[in-house]
Amino acid sequence: MKLTLKIWRQKNADAKGKFVTYDFDGASPDMSFLEMLDALNTKLIKARIDPVAFDHDCREGICGACGMYINGHPHGPGKAITTCHLSMREFKDGDTIYVEPWRAKAFPVVKDLIVDRTAFDKIQIAGGFISTNVGSAPDSHALPVEKSKADEAFNSAVCIGCGACVAACKNASAMLFVSAKIAQFALLPQGRIEAKERVQAMVKKMDELGFGNCSNTGACEAECPKEISLVNIARLNREFYCAKVSP
């Protein structure tokens, strides 16, 4: 496959970046998108050019490290996949592919396609947990949980923290990410105890970090590699109002 790659290159956080065009002949339809970039990098390294930096780790769609904005979509075309699972079969010989980093004020570019997503950690640190002391937990069966609730909590909990929701949102809002965590804990009895404090603290932190506002567009849901639902955002809203009005 012959491709024209237009990749965002930026030396470091302070540098001014630009798109660099690479005419790349050497992709195969069997490759994943990241493997195609590996192949490009090998070529660049041999030409003594700094290779394209990008985050990646498990390469099986679960760690959430990889993520780039490919031809207008976070994680590229294809539904419910991460960049590492994006196959080059999705592209045709002769295609031009734009590769950009996540764009958001809260996710500054570190280098090339690597962005700083510690904002997500900060939101979790603000309250994304259940305050239980290690070792003092009661027997698991002391607290039955309705199966439908447990399953729903699981569906919210599968978020991999990749940031595609923020990247996809026209407002760079982190609502889907935050709401998935809120919903997971709000649905479980052990998480209800701190539900009020949690939702307020996490929303407050999210606002502080410069994410945009949710406009219920649904791009986050459409692009989420784990298909996390907008229902979570409605639940966050509900939890938030209830927390505000309750004494």
Binding site: G72, R103, K170, V203, N213, C214, N216, L230, V231, N237
Partner: protein, 214 residues
């Protein structure tokens, strides 16, 4: 500013409540407008008179004005924040499966706002006495206006954009209120779709009838 306006969730809630209030008002307005289709000017003029002078309506009017202002101001604040949240734009964008018109709410809102200003110039400000006109015969004024093709075109286009605006707004307001349910959300979306077509269509029929058939 956030101390006063609250979190992003609160701001959206204010936006949604104001929006829903305006959606309700549209129905009342449409009901009165239908009186224009009667050949007799009395019913419409009495309704207009009632709306201008009744004490309850006067109180309601304050809420309505507040609703408009809040919806506009909050909308602008939210939009500015959203723009600031992504200082560097993407070079290449594509469409994902989304609520399509939500991406253009601010632009649709601006167009509707411009129309609203024209509308106020023609009627509401006349009623207040700020602009010259016969506020005892709105029926006549409407009929005069709807003889102007340019005005009708502006009017129709504005309502088309209102339809787009409502298409996203209706269901979005419920989502913001925290009401999203596997079973009922499709129903809400359905009602929203019907509302966003029927109401602007209802408004649009009137000038056409007046222009062609009266």
């Amino acid at each position: 500013m956030d101390k006063f306006l609250g979190s992003c969730v609160t701001k959206k809630l204010v936006m949604a409540i104001a929006g829903l209030f305006l959606i309700l008002f549209l129905l009342v307005h449409l009901g009165i407008n239908f009186l224009l289709l009667i050949d007799d000017p009395v019913p419409f003029n009495s309704a207009a008179h009632f709306m201008s002078n009744n004490v309850v309506v006067k109180v309601f009017e304050i809420f309505l004005i507040a609703g408009f202002l809040i919806h506009i101001i909050w909308g602008i604040i939210l939009q500015v924040q959203n723009w600031l949240a992504r200082p560097a734009r993407y070079k290449k964008t594509a469409f994902s499966q989304t609520s399509f018109f939500s991406k253009y709410m601010i632009y649709l809102g601006i167009i509707i706002g411009v129309f609203l200003f024209i509308h106020f110039m023609n009627f509401y400000f006349v009623k207040l006495g700020w602009v010259e006109g016969d506020h005892e015969n709105f029926y006549g004024m409407v009929n005069d206006l709807f003889q102007l093709p340019l005005y009708i075109v502006i009017y129709l286009v504005s309502f088309l954009f209102l339809a787009f605006h409502l298409h996203h707004a209706f269901q979005s307001a419920f989502q913001t209120l925290g009401l999203n349910h596997n079973k009922y959300t499709p129903v809400i979306k359905g009602i929203g779709l019907i509302y966003s077509i029927v109401v602007p269509l209802g408004f649009s029929i009137i000038p056409i009838v007046i222009y062609f058939f009266k």
